[in-house]
Amino acid sequence: MGRVIGSVLAVLLAVVAVAGDRIAPNNADTQFADRAWAPPMSIRIDGVAPYVNPQVLEDRLARIYTNDTSTRIPLRVFASGRAIAAEDTDEGPVLLLGADALGRDVLARVAEASRYSLGVAIAGALLALLIGTLFGALAASIGPRTDRAIITVADALASLPVIYIVLTLRAALPLVLVPSDVFIALSLLFGLVGWPFTARGVRGIMHREWALPYAEAALAAGASRLRVLVVHLLPATFGFLGTQFLLLVPGFLISEVTLSFLGLGFPEPTPSWGTMLQAASNVRVMAEAPWMLAPAVALALTSLALHLLSGRRKDALTVFSRAR
């Protein structure tokens, strides 16, 4: 049951991440004048036709908006290259999740941000798997000294909370980078930080596999160690690698959010869940503009989906293998 829900959520997330702000009626970076801190507009139905009432700015300082119930803006699904589109109108933008401090559509920004946040988490996880598999295989296959060396380093790195390592490593880079550089830098960082967990698991599996009869037989038959490693032993790790991936991604997602929150991730105006949460992280915004917390909901759903997909193995290593 869990896996089903997880899969459905994951597919939805993938769709949003691929479509970006085309999910919403507006672009992620358009600033709408006279719409700073506008609240979400509710969708109403007239029979089968959905519509919204346009917003009117009543008091700029107190950020009070009212709905003009005498007019309607009809909504269309899958039109004009967007999932939800509004008819071209002078009545102002359709803000289904409200607007931020600069009058930008929050729904569009959350969707667009998923590309960056998820993108860098996935890239980092893949890199961590690659490096971890390499080191794990080396540890299990070369000899006891290499094994001890690699496992000592892996254990030391794995024991520290990930975020502290990421923060320190991030600090070694220029504090401000352009978005494409941030993407590369964060992916590399996550790869460097995540490999120990993968390495330990791959090493364990390979140790076990090397001791099995078929490996000895293959060696005896004249296959090189490398060939045995790649052709016979590696496939044994695939299951583990799959689960690892599903565990690494949420952890890296949190790390990206933390870094962006601290200003060390994607720079404004690039939308990212971390920077959007940072703008929402004061009591006044939570009280008066709670729609700004939408990225938190997105984050929770993503984490949930990935954890559900990874199944329910309950050993300590899987439950607590990622420092949050």
């Binding site: 600033q31 004048a33 006279d34 700073a36 801190w37 008091d59 700029r60 300082l61 107190a62 950020r63 401090a101 600069l102 009058g103 504090l175 401000v176 352009v178 200003g263 720079p267 404004e268 105006p269 004061n282 009591v283 006044r284 008066e288």
Partner: protein, 553 residues
């Protein structure tokens, strides 16, 4: 784990509710020292009026000079003043105050080993003032040249106790003398309060100075508050919450636009009092690197053209900045001299209206045209016109203003890349000239332009678009330098004002820096707080702490 919980419980209990008569203020950072001569930070500026006293204090409500440690003075000629010090005044440890302490303070101020930042501000054209002691209660102060602001300069100089600090000045340990870890009894001054206790990273508390020399008009002793606690609250949102809940009686700066509506409601409920002290003195500026041979300009000479700056001034909607960034609680401005500067502000210099058509014409005139049909202008070599705009990361107002500038310039075909830097790196980049354009602001140190010569004069280090020029780089720079002479050296106010108004006209014509909007500064104080003298200059309330007190309800 158990110890952890116990420790946590103990630290929590240290933030208990305060007895109701204490005045509680908040600061962003804790003061790095108690010696204004050594450290010039906002926190030290805020607590100095509590524990120290100057010779003469400027009444910020009307700009007049108030007798303070000096109870009368006369001008002997255009550069020399004789100041008569009050008699029978004692420091907080009982030691009598004499002219020797004034001499010592000036000695420390100009001592090269101390390298006081305040000392460089109290020089005129790099030449220090000369102080001569005539007798135990009279001193002679000599300026190197006639100086417009005159004795008002002394407002910022606290008089330090010779008997406590002379030894450390001799040994070269002056800069380390009064840190937060110094025992409070050693921090001696002539101000209304003395340091009671320092809780590192959390708060500093002050109690009345038993020897304070001032008395109220009705003869009762000053200060009125039994204790002032200054709490360190780094986050402005957390500060607002403390103000709202009454845990703090006033804060560090003006209210943000997004807090205004909530605080107006609180004022109606009689929980706070709001003070509109005027238009801010330090609006943000957008400027380009106008230095000769600046690296970005060699490849893109159009970056240094006056027409570009005029185009930007018309392309960016000041109204939109006022409405979106400040939610309407601001005023469009054209120069760094805002209506908050009072008479110094030249009323005839109007901010440009939003005129994208004129902006487009100006950009066409310097050869920036859309040559490849992509909607963005290109220079003569066909490259898209892009500007890398540096600003301060974490400063919401600057970041939002930059975003609006980016949007409005995109509409006229100029691409802007915003690079938000940590303030230290930003200032380093500005210093090294490694930038296209910057959106930033200087904190105002005073209303009188003569104290801001680093900014106005071409040779000044804070003349940010082209600092430290050996020779004025353009005719208009020379003109401003000439006009500033009477502003600095004339002692007649009208002469100074007229010259300075002309400076602003030249500035508006050349636009070395573009200004958009200045917010109204609104201070919030608890309705229980009495004796408040709010001021537009920092520190807004603590500059005059003598009468502050909290009424019980």
């Amino acid at each position: 784990m158990v110890t952890g919980t116990v420790v946590w419980w103990r630290t929590r209990s240290s933030v208990q509710f305060q007895p109701s008569a204490n005045v509680v203020a908040t600061l962003r950072t804790e003061p790095e020292s108690f010696n204004r001569l050594v450290t010039a930070s906002a926190a030290v500026d805020a607590i100095t009026p509590l524990i120290h006293a100057p010779l003469i204090k400027v009444d910020r409500t009307d700009g007049t000079l108030m007798p303070w440690l000096a109870d009368r003075w006369e001008a002997l000629d255009s550069t020399r003043y004789r100041l008569h010090l009050r008699r029978d005044i004692r420091f907080s440890d009982g030691t009598p105050f004499t002219a020797d302490d004034v001499r010592f303070t000036f000695e420390a101020l100009y001592d090269p080993r101390v390298a006081s930042a305040l000392g460089s501000g109290l020089r005129i054209g790099g030449v220090p003032l000369t102080l001569t002691v005539e007798d135990a209660h009279t001193v002679l102060l000599e300026f190197p040249v006639p100086y417009g602001p005159g004795l008002a300069m002394l407002d910022v100089l606290p008089i330090l106790p010779r008997h406590r600090l002379e030894a450390s000045l001799r040994d070269g340990r002056f800069a380390q003398a009064w840190t937060p870890s110094t025992p409070p009894e050693e921090i001696v001054g002539l101000g209304p309060f003395v340091v009671e206790a320092v809780s590192p990273g959390e708060s500093v508390s002050f109690v009345p100075n038993p020897h304070y020399f001032r008395r109220a008009e009705d003869g009762s002793t000053l200060p009125r508050a039994p204790r002032i606690i200054v709490r360190v609250v780094p986050d402005q949102s957390a500060e607002m919450v403390q103000l709202e809940s009454g845990a703090a009686h006033f804060g560090t700066g003006g209210l943000r636009a997004e807090d205004l509506a909530a605080f107006r409601t609180l004022e109606q409920q009689d929980r706070v009092r709001l003070h509109d002290v005027g238009v801010a003195l330090d609006p943000n500026a957008l400027w380009f690197n106008l230095a000769e041979g600046a690296r970005p300009a060699t490849a893109r000479p159009w970056l240094q053209r006056r027409e570009l700056r005029h185009a930007i001034s018309r392309a960016v909607s000041r109204t939109r900045i006022v409405d979106t960034v400040y939610l309407g609680a601001a005023q469009p401005v054209m120069t760094p001299v805002t209506p908050g500067h009072g008479a110094w502000h030249a009323g005839d210099v109007e901010p440009h209206a939003h005129d994208p058509v004129e902006a487009a014409r100006l950009l066409d005139s310097i050869g920036l045209r859309d040559r490849d049909g992509d909607g963005m202008r290109d220079d003569a070599s066909g490259r898209t016109a892009r500007i890398a705009l540096l600003t301060q990361r974490g400063h919401t107002i600057r970041e939002r203003t930059a975003a609006i500038i980016q949007e409005d310039l995109a509409r006229v075909g100029i691409g802007v890349d915003i690079v938000a830097l940590e303030v230290g790196s930003l200032i380093a980049r500005i210093g090294s000239g490694d930038y296209d354009a910057v959106l930033f602001g200087l904190q105002a140190s005073g209303v009188d332009p003569a104290v801001n010569l680093d900014f106005w004069l071409p040779e000044g280090v804070f003349h940010f678009w082209n600092p430290a020029q050996r020779e004025p780089a353009a005719d208009w720079e020379r003109r401003i330098a000439e006009l500033m002479v009477p502003v600095v050296n004339a002692t007649d106010r009208d002469t100074r004002l007229t010259a300075f108004h002309e400076v602003q006209r030249v500035f508006a014509r050349e636009l070395p820096a573009i200004y958009f909007a200045a917010p109204r500064v609104v201070l919030a104080t608890s309705s229980r707080l009495q004796g408040v003298r709010p001021s537009l200059l920092q520190p807004h309330v603590l500059w005059m702490p003598d009468e502050l007190r909290v009424e019980a309800r």
